[in-house]
Symmetry: D2
Subunit: 392 residues, 4 copies
């Protein structure tokens, strides 16, 4: 079926753990709710362990498998490569795919180093000139409440932005016996809370405000310096063994920031905040109003309009499930909530729409590079105990 | 000092338990924050046990004591009698005081029976004709958020009222070993949750909507039918003895209601809701908007304005601490919260202002009588298992 | 693929509006996250309008279409019939399907009348004896927080249940110009808020408490008695025309209830509560604890444990996204929320698991009949203005 | 009356604006609810403008007046001097009072400079040796929920403290036309948001954790650099004139901190956060649990106990109104909330109790000095754009 659509978009995905499952759900369902110019087809899944790969492809619904990502890129029947691997392999895979003329969706953070990200952004720019598209996966931008936040700022409802506070709080590492997964190894993950979750709040606050962080001073902390080495792992979970290894990334990070437009910001990302599971909290204060968001109540945006009379002014708890809200009209009636995975569906919608329209989707690899520069400046400022400019 | 004020209002109060302490706090402080036409003077406290009475007067700051309420009423140096006794004595004391030309503030519910309340309202009407004022103590009307709710309805911000839901949830009787205080004895208290706390939500919803309950059907329940007889008691607390006695009032009550103006309502009052300490929850839905209030967050009123565009419509969390809000300007800056006792202070403010201005304060004894009629109709409808009109 | 599974379950679905889309999402995705004994196959979609049917099948991913539900039932390649039509057709389709040996999933309420529901329950009982399974679609039971609520009650964490309060608040009919859809026509829908959303809170409270409503007294209200007749409609939305027609169902309903086990309850369902979009609120008070749930924050269950010391007792805000929670382990890491549609996925999981195991799934048609008896008693009690027993 | 008490404590207070009113309320009422060793007597109020002073004394209930604080200190019938003036006069008045043998309660921040604070702490230490007591007015310590937070940390319920995040958000300066009060002039106030409200969260987090901030790096910002000069002012309010003057203090401040015990912290204080009126938000994460507090819901403490099974773990919303909670037993039944001013009452209770017992009350001037050192380090680190140790 779907023959009335203009065509299909054949997707090859590398990696099938946590992000792979989330991306699969998006590729499977986006065209069932949204009108897309191209229908995604889950052509091939790529991984190294053939047995686990086959099981994953079967479970997630991919048509075929490849055990070498180079082979995947070589396939004629793959139009887009979706990179869901740890950060140390992003650059190599993504650049090769772009050079082979494949569109690329790459998980965040774009890379483990600024140098890699520079190369990726350059590759993306070159590819774009021949109509090959690329996008970095800051999916939280696609939560409807975040989309509404961006819209309200752009529409001037907050006036001039003065203050930003952003926190990304988790607690899955609070237990010292939580195993040493790849996310805790600097050579695989680049950094810890900083790059994994700090990257999200950097992107989100810059996206919502439409402004960029210009300088920072940061502080990193590793509270648990040794952990059991896992015997096997998948996604965020792993099975601890008896050997112990060194944690080489940060458990928690905090930094102060100045935005180019004059706003000041405080940022914190941690995996040690007992009782906070995935609390992405963002508050924006402007001259005319304020916004507040918490991912633990992700269908809600709080909005204070300071132009209202004091008698009835108050933070409005907007349940972001109305047809007027971003992405929501395609789903359920008002009050019928969306979940975590819907952000990934919306990401596919925006990406496929851009590919179909022949435009460059956002956030671009250049945007991903800029986030990488902020991450790098935070790390370096912490090392130097001083403020640092984010280089352009 | 205070000699520049026109004069004093000499108060005699009967009872010094929970309500007595709250009223004392109000008489002591009202003129320190509000500009009153008369300055209250805590002239005399009345109770039966001389030793406990003297200790209470000392603690609460009353100038003198009387062990017989008739003697109190006879005193020339008492202008107002404040009745803080159990309900079975309200009628006798209040009527005698009014007939002696004393203004009367009487705790709610006005009486234990409709007949008593009728007599009291008649006495109040007679007294009013010679400038003697009376008021029933539905203090929750004086919580600023409730005052704001009333104002918004009156200003038409909700349109036509369609639905009312009101709950008063406590849990101090959930423990079967909580002692058998006077509040659990029908001959002292008249009823249980119905008259003690149900009366408040009847008054509040009628006050906010400006409408009256016309018919009801109710259900009463006593979950714990025997309790330890207390050896001594004070306020809401008591010390349990070994003897057990019968609970002769309801632990919980619920009723459906139709308002004269066409709205429908659901009401519930209970002392058995584990974890709810003093949760007075009121929601009002109108054609143009809605209100929600919970006394456990008493400085806040939630307001939904349905005339706003759907994109940014949401319940506003109004922190009712602005100078524009009822009573608040006399207190602290915005965001500096008020507490339970402030309602009593505001009650004194409104009462003394009315006395000073020569007007009849609200809620009147006639209002108290009408609440009593609703209470009576709920009880009778529960007995008859049918709907009943509230007689006028 | 999936050849290692024991087989497939070929599904034929009747209806493709709001519920059809939700059910399709469930049939499409359940086996991607859960280990099922049979893999669902979306074999055939049935509807009357051939053009719209084909478009819907294409959009939702059904393999074939039928314009006559009898033809669907006759097909050998359909193992299960999923009934997503208005209530007036449930009985005929479901009974025919069961008699043809097809498993049946039927949307709620089971039927428009008790008589129909009796016939359906009888058909289900007969079918069950030959291994044909049936289930009624009270999907909210499958929200993880509701599953946890049920578990806590069953484990005795609340003690003996004393009080239940349940509200289902929507506002999509608050606007008098909202069109007269089939849900507002008694002959199609049976009743209004009562059967459509009131049925859910009846089922939920009985499910969580493990108890049944024994007697009720109710009140129904139609605030807007005439509405524009729609020229076309789909799901909950419709386009209003210029003609006006009579609303023949209730906009709002409230009732008091007594449960067989001694608890008392208050219930309210309305489509007129401005600002409440899909607020299913349930509170349960027991001798040892309390629970509170609101679907507008559907990933959260509030639990008060009265056995804790008073110093640290408080309602716990349990974010129901831990692997220990019902259904959740198959999805995302803690704090990554689920949405409305996940309840439908879980419904498919439970249904297919029961079919695979050869057991009867819950809620059964007998359970659906019992809810129908409560609905009927509420309606009749409102007519008679008295209490009514729910017949067994 | 009160003759059965051991004696009275005669209080002289300097200043009668916002803080003066709050302190008066405390002196007037503390002994009405708490059993104090000495009964406070509001002996004398001191201010410069005789007319306004007399009106204030009359309004607030002080027995006499003095227009020169030196005369107040000279009076034999004053036992304690309560300093409620702007920060630039604290040192001179407090030191003179201590040297005259008067107990001193001094509003926070202790001084405008570290040097002044050093002198005050030294004077306090000298005075203490002859039984003269001193205390700095960090009243938020006396909010019952904060007292409970301290208790839970001290009892080990949080384990080892890892992270602290604290915000004090107000918005009264968001309007650029808000007048230039003394609080915006460096020579009167010392600093802006930093010293006025930042001091509170420094004290609160150190108090709750029982730990001290060892190093900081900060950022200060003045968003509105010119404001109308007021023609008259009182408390937080003032009347704007037509002339404009320079704002010489910060509107907002943020800083990162490392505690001596190993915890890391993020702090922010601002008067520009539209919609936040007096939001003091504190979160503490430890190895075994977490706490969260917001003064806009000041009767509540949220507590997460990580030792609970994951199935039922969640932040408990503790309504801090139980007799088991700090200070609460003297007030109302559970669920009857306290307000802003009660912290001042509790401050008097603790101070008078310490005086009566002959012990040194907390927080001491030495504690106030340490907070001053942190404030100074934040300011200096912001100037130098680097981290700074807090000198001991």
């Amino acid at each position: 079926m779907n023959e009335d659509k203009q065509g299909t978009l054949r997707v090859g995905m590398v990696g099938y753990a946590f992000m792979g499952a989330a991306h699969s759900q998006a590729w499977r369902n986006a065209h069932r709710f949204f009108d897309l110019p191209l229908t995604p087809r889950m052509a091939a899944l790529c991984g190294r362990d053939e047995n686990r790969l086959r099981a994953a492809a079967d479970q997630l619904g991919w048509e075929s498998t490849e055990t070498d990502w180079r082979a995947l890129i070589d396939r004629d029947d793959v139009d887009l490569v979706d990179v869901c691997t740890p950060g140390d392999t992003h650059a190599e895979i993504a650049i090769a795919a772009l050079e082979a003329g494949k569109h690329v969706l790459c998980e965040k953070p774009l890379a483990n180093t600024v140098d890699e990200a520079v190369a990726m952004a350059a590759a993306a720019r070159r590819a774009a000139s021949s109509g090959v598209r690329s996008m970095v996966g800051f999916t939280y931008r696609r939560v409807p409440a975040i989309g509404l936040a961006r819209r309200l700022v752009r529409d001037g409802r907050l006036g001039e932005i003065r203050q930003v506070r952003a926190q990304y709080l988790q607690d899955w590492l609070a237990d010292p016996e939580a195993p040493l997964s790849w996310r805790l190894q600097k050579e695989r993950a680049g950094s810890g809370a900083l790059g994994d979750i700090g990257a999200h709040i950097i992107d989100l606050t810059q996206h919502i405000t439409g402004d960029r962080i210009g300088s920072v001073t940061g502080m990193l902390q590793t509270f648990v310096t040794e952990r059991p080495v896992p015997t096997e792992s998948s996604g965020l979970s792993a099975v601890a063994g008896t050997e112990r290894g060194e944690v080489t990334v940060d458990d928690a990070v905090a930094f102060l920031a100045r935005f180019d437009g004059g706003a000041i910001g405080t940022f914190e990302a941690t995996r040690m905040a007992r009782g906070r599971k995935n609390a992405i909290r963002i508050e924006i204060n402007g001259t005319q109003g304020s916004l507040a968001f918490d991912f633990e109540d992700m269908n809600v945006l709080h909005f204070f309009d300071a132009t209202e009379p004091a008698e009835t002014a108050g933070f409005r708890r907007i349940v972001v499930t109305e047809p007027e809200h971003p992405y929501v009209g395609a789903w359920w009636p008002p009050g019928h909530l969306l979940g975590y995975e819907h952000g990934f569906v919306h990401q596919v919608v925006d990406l496929v729409t851009a590919i179909g329209e022949g435009s460059d989707p956002l956030p671009s690899f250049a945007d991903g590079l800029q986030v990488q520069r902020v991450l790098s400046a935070v790390q370096e400022s912490a090392d130097k105990q001083s403020w640092l400019e984010v280089t352009a």
